[in-house]
Amino acid sequence: MKTAALIGNPNVGKTSLFNTLTGSNQYVGNWAGVTVEKKEGFINEDLKIVDLPGIYAMDTFSSEEKVAKEFLASGEADFIINIVDASNLERNLYLTTQIKEYKTPIILVLNMMDIAAAKGLEIDTDLLSEKLGVTVIPISASKGKGLDELKSLLERGNFLSVSNENDFQFHNEKEAYDYITRLLSTAVKKKDSSRQTRTEKIDKVVLNKFLAYPIFFLMLWLIFEFTFSWVGQPLAGYLSHLVDDVLVPALSSLLSGSSPWFSSLIIDGIVGGVGAVIVFLPVILTLFLGISFLEDSGYMARAAFIMDKAMRKMGLSGKAFIPLIVGFGCSVPGIMTARTLESEKDRKLTALIVPLMSCNARLPVYALFASVFFPGRETTVVFSLYLLGIGLAFLLGMLFKRTIFRKDEEPFIIELPEYKAPELKNLMNHTWDKGKGFLKKAGTLIFSVSVVIWFLSNFNFSGMTDINSSILASIGSFVSPVFIPLGFASWQNAVSLITGLMAKEVVLGTMGVIYGGSLASSIQTHFTPASAYAFLVFVLLYTPCISVIATMKKEFGVRMAAFSVTYQLVLAWVVSAIAYRIAMLIM
């Protein structure tokens, strides 16, 4: 079997070409030790393509560059497919001169020939092929042109014999660029067109001093509404309605003859666990449709550009604003969005602080406690919690930047690509990738933890029981002393917080079961206003729910997930204890 490495600059249509060539025949994973996605696909049984990350050069600074360089140096690739933007050969060919050093046959795919033609560029592909010592094939992936030729070329494989004498040994970037400029002066004819391009016209509006922020927030608002009010959340609600009101009654009548532990395992354990996973799916799919749209249209880079100054204060680049905002809806897609950031440090740092953004699931807990303990001041109390989360995110951002990520600082230089209309096929592909990845990787963990918690709360060592005498209750009494300095130590509260691992709104559901009766009146006997506030602070900050932990593990590995859980537990305990002391003084 032959292996081909697919390599090219960012924004040249590499992923789109990869999807076209391999279809559904692909495997997504991570490169060892870094948060860079590794994609492999098959054109046929004899030809595997490895999609290397989009990079400008191989100078081994970023993890993307390291991955690409190590892969090419390993000799695993029999040939290289180098995709370049035909409308901007000058910069794209720099990478080509670097990969020539690996003495591996290269197919140079000139993509976006249609855009080059629209710009008035005429490219002499034969001359390029001869001078560079590569096989050149012009295509236009978005128009579907040249793809068949490329496929049949790959299948025939006769490019492998192309002369590979001309391997460049440039001493520095200037030599390489000077060579490219000379080559292009003969190989490319340009009909002069100094008119203002479409991109420049759009940027005049989108980056305008006064319009830039209103436009940005309008875009975010649209995506948020689309996800959380118009499509995603309603669909999720509909799904959970299907599970709770249709599937569960049907199953319970079906299982009415079987023993109670078995029907509880099926209904509360397994169906409950599956439900916990699938209700996230519509939200993830709709949100990523929106994010992919921003990304593919070229707007995302502009958003990063205008938000950079503010985000820099917490050690992040402008683009990190989006995952953090998404985190207010739900941390799961927030962490998944963090994967779109340019540098490894940004990705990790952002993912670590996303859970501090107070998500939707925490709101019901705040709402109930605030209305019981702080009547008339609900808004202030809830708002203070949101602000506390944001403030701590800033502090921890600065702290992590100066400590664990100190060595990973990378220069912030991003390309502002030309605007283009996103292709529906690409949007769908990208969106489905995210959904599938979540179901496969995170889903299994969420499901298993759901079943374990079901077991712990329904059994003790002598068999099935209710939650008040379950194993979970024993665990609750065991850990509850930890909460004494926080003012709300009782096994009931401890158990509620443990079940809150499932999703933070579950905290209320569990309290309802354990305390019995009307929750609003029963919590009044178990909390003081000060301990209630401390409890809310704890709910805001403690370990993210299992879906977030599973997503963190999927995207960033076990160590990051473990660190995220630990630091948040410590943070929650410390801040909550401080909040309790202060609240006692005030109230």
Binding site: D59, F61, N88, R91, K174, I306, K309, I414
Partner: protein
């Protein structure tokens, strides 16, 4: 003189790149080499970062990094 001394829309030739190694390497890989034409195209609403145009591409770069691109003779 550095690129940050230009007015929006002005062009100049690059004289040299200074600053730390990572930044220098990154800029040069993008074609920011001596004698290349560079244009200060735009700046963010609060004046930082900047958009520079280099060999037909727009890049966003922070002011403190852009200060390391020194230029000669305005165009």
């Amino acid at each position: 003189m550095s690129i940050t001394d230009l007015k929006l829309g002005e062009k100049a030739y690059i004289h040299s790149i200074n600053g730390d190694n990572k930044l220098m390497k990154r800029l040069m890989a993008l074609g920011c080499t001596e004698g290349t034409e560079i244009c200060l195209k735009n700046c963010a609403p609060f004046g930082d970062p900047l958009v520079i145009n280099l060999r037909g591409c727009d890049f966003c770069i922070r002011k403190k990094d852009a200060k390391n691109i020194s230029i000669k003779d305005n165009l």
